[in-house]
């Protein structure tokens, strides 16, 4: 059993994959610069320029190369430094990666893994967004957003083994999160995780907010409020079984994610709770996400927009009334 950060877990996972001849990484600043978040630092020296390929600022090209090489039997890892930049590769992702297998009558697969990051902090409006729901919206894509080092490592492996294109969403503010990674720990795409047991309220969340929710739950436990936390881990295909089981117990739910509060993954989670557990509903379901404005640059303004432990706590109290 090792204790490591998310970054270290990802490096382990990448190293293991890079042993395979078919695997290469392509992205901006991943080689010579040592990568913006340090995930592939030293990899150029370790694996060489054939496997660690620096790309110019050309997201469409990066993903295009990824799709093309995947179609021909390689196992590319495409890094898009920030999910904000993926907008430039949407045609490649949505019209190509997601649809090739279908449109070629099953003859072609696209086993590409797109690593990208959600995140913010004084990065301003065009660099602080998340598009989870936009990826999750598309049939043909898989979307994975782990929260713990163990899940990062295990789900990355699962993503690479998956024959379909997987959007693997990391978070810039999570690379330092440290936790135990049990030997031989495995995880499946499309399976959620019970992160914390509780009887009073169901919290459904994924990615960075999982940690915020755990913090909030610890605090509320002192008041006798026991929160049950479900970490979805995969957004598409989304496993609602544990969330529903929990919700049938508590009748009250709060959905937390780092995305704007309307029209997002939260809405999908909420709809499924209402749909499949209507007769267990005891209060309207609360959502906590970004305030619906373009992200500010200034810290004091930014703090008003983002998901905070205070806002999560308020939502829980409201739902328990």
């Amino acid at each position: 059993m090792a204790v490591m950060t998310v970054r270290e877990a990802l490096r382990d996972a990448l190293r293991e994959q890079l042993k395979d001849d078919r695997v290469f990484i392509i992205g901006e600043d991943i080689g010579y610069y040592g990568s913006t978040y340090g995930v592939t630092a030293g990899f150029l020296e370790e694996f060489g320029p054939d496997k660690i390929r620096d790309a110019p600022i050309a997201e469409a090209g990066i993903v295009g190369i990824g799709v093309g090489s995947a179609m021909l039997g390689m196992r590319p890892i495409c890094e898009i430094m920030s999910v904000n930049f993926s907008l430039l590769a949407f045609d490649q992702l949505i019209n190509h990666a997601a649809k090739l297998h279908y449109m070629f009558g099953g003859q072609i697969q696209c086993p590409m893994v797109l690593r990208t990051t959600n995140g913010w902090r004084n990065l301003s409006a065009t660099h602080s967004q998340s598009f989870d729901s936009m990826f999750a919206y598309v049939p043909g894509l898989k979307v994975v957003a782990p929260a713990t080092p163990a899940d990062m490592k295990a789900l990355f492996k699962a993503s690479m083994e998956d024959p379909d294109p997987v959007i693997f969403i990391e978070h810039t503010l999570m690379y330092g999160v440290k936790d135990e990674v049990p030997d031989g720990y495995e995880a499946k795409i499309g399976e959620s995780r019970l992160a914390r047991e509780g009887k009073d309220v169901t919290i459904v969340t994924y990615s960075r907010p999982v940690h915020l929710c755990m913090e909030v739950a610890e605090k509320l436990a002192q008041e006798g409020i026991e929160c049950e936390i479900i970490d979805l881990r995969t957004i598409r295909p989304m496993d609602m079984s544990k969330a529903l089981e929990s919700f049938r117990k508590t009748g009250r739910a709060v959905v937390v994610s780092e995305e704007w509060e309307s029209h997002g993954v939260q809405a999908e989670i909420t709809a499924r709770l209402y749909e499949h557990a209507f007769d267990y509903l005891d209060a309207p379901i609360a959502r906590v996400g970004f305030k619906e404005v373009p992200f500010p640059y200034a810290t004091n303004l930014e703090n008003q927009v983002v998901v905070t432990p205070e806002r999560i706590t308020d939502a829980i109290r409201k739902v328990l009334k």
Binding site: G251, F278, D279, Y280, L281, D282, A283, K321
Partner: protein, 482 residues
Amino acid sequence: MAEVTMPKMGFDMQEGTIVRWLKKVGDEVKKGEPIAEIETDKVTIEIESFSSGTLTQIVADEGAVVAVGAPIAILDGGDGAAAPAPSDGGAAATGDTQQAQTAQQVEQKAGTQAGAAPEQFTGEGGEGSTGAAQQTEAAAQDSGSAAATSAEPANGRADGGHVPASPVAKRLARENNVDIAQVSGSGPGGRIVRKDVEAFVQGGGAKTAPQPAAQPAAQPAAQQPAAQPQPAAQPAAQPAAQPQPAAQQPQAEQRPGTRREPMSRLRQTIARRMAQSKGPVPHFYVTTEIDMGAAMALRKQLNASGGDVKITVNDMIVKASAIAIGKYPALNASFAEDSLDYHDYVNVSIAVATDNGLLAPAVTDVDKKSLGTISAEAKELIERTRNGKATPDELGRGTFSVSNLGMYPVDSFVAIINPPQAMILAVGAVNEQPVVRNGEITIGQIMKVTISIDHRVSDGAVGAQYLAELKRLLENPMLILL
């Protein structure tokens, strides 16, 4: 034309209260369809129509207390079949289990079931359930609103009666035959939420029927283990004290730091019956110590023989107590005003603690059944009682009771008789103690038992003789296997 009459839903049922009509005059009724909710002293059950037709007249209104067999409604036409005359258990029996099941729902043990004494001793150190009734906190409920006899919505909404209630609250209300408009909502905007309905159901609710008048002593009542461990050995005749009106709660000013919770219907019934028993029934008590060494050894042997049924110590006590009573028929009798009803059969009521209170289902013909059969039947009955699925008949058919607190560090206690029974046996824990045998001090496994007997029915000498016989059987346990 067919008469719908008050069905007999339990062996001891004399009358029922119409809680709610599910059909109104002019409605079509199909045979087998639920037409009304009836409250007996123990449960609130839906009754089904025995024939089809149009409901042309409601003879007994909501709130009316009607004797078994008396008409409550008239059906016109349809298949013209007359409602079957109420026979013992008869036609009502089939309805009984179904209705008992409809009434018992997953979230709530339905309504009231008259309770009897505490826990079942398994002999393995006992099951952990306590006799405490669990109540949810009803935010704005005081017993005043719970006893409301009007049909106005409790939350007094003036907007055409739309009652905001969460889906789960609505479902629970539906499942428990609660009119949700009667429930006070504690959620935002007066919304009725799950805990409001739960509290309502447990609190006896604002069903429009008033509490039924204290039933004649044909119904079994609840006993309460008295706090004092030492029993009174003298056969004293107690003067009949006035029973407290347990159903009323004084509207006292509450100090801060006090939480008022409405009593569940079961609890109220237990309260009323305790007082009814302890007051008028002159109890006397006899205690003895029984050396359980041989019985424990025999039990171990029986259970090690690889059968399916695991005999508990309580099973052995129940059997022994039934065999012993054969010699003292007065103790297996029921008090009935100016006469005694002697029973041919020996049905032993076993005290079971449930979440809502004490109940005592009875195993029938214990003197005739084998220990294995008794064990299996007792287990099954207790399980069902804990789940709120025991029928009124099962709860009312005992001829005397056994109450066991042996899984607690209780040496002995005194139980209150379950009218109209004449006796209850209170069993304490088996403790290792020094004893004298054949002039030598050795270790014995000593269990104290105390019988409470109705002095109107029997006397001290009989009680003592019974205990001697019980002791003899348990100290020579092979006799129980005969």
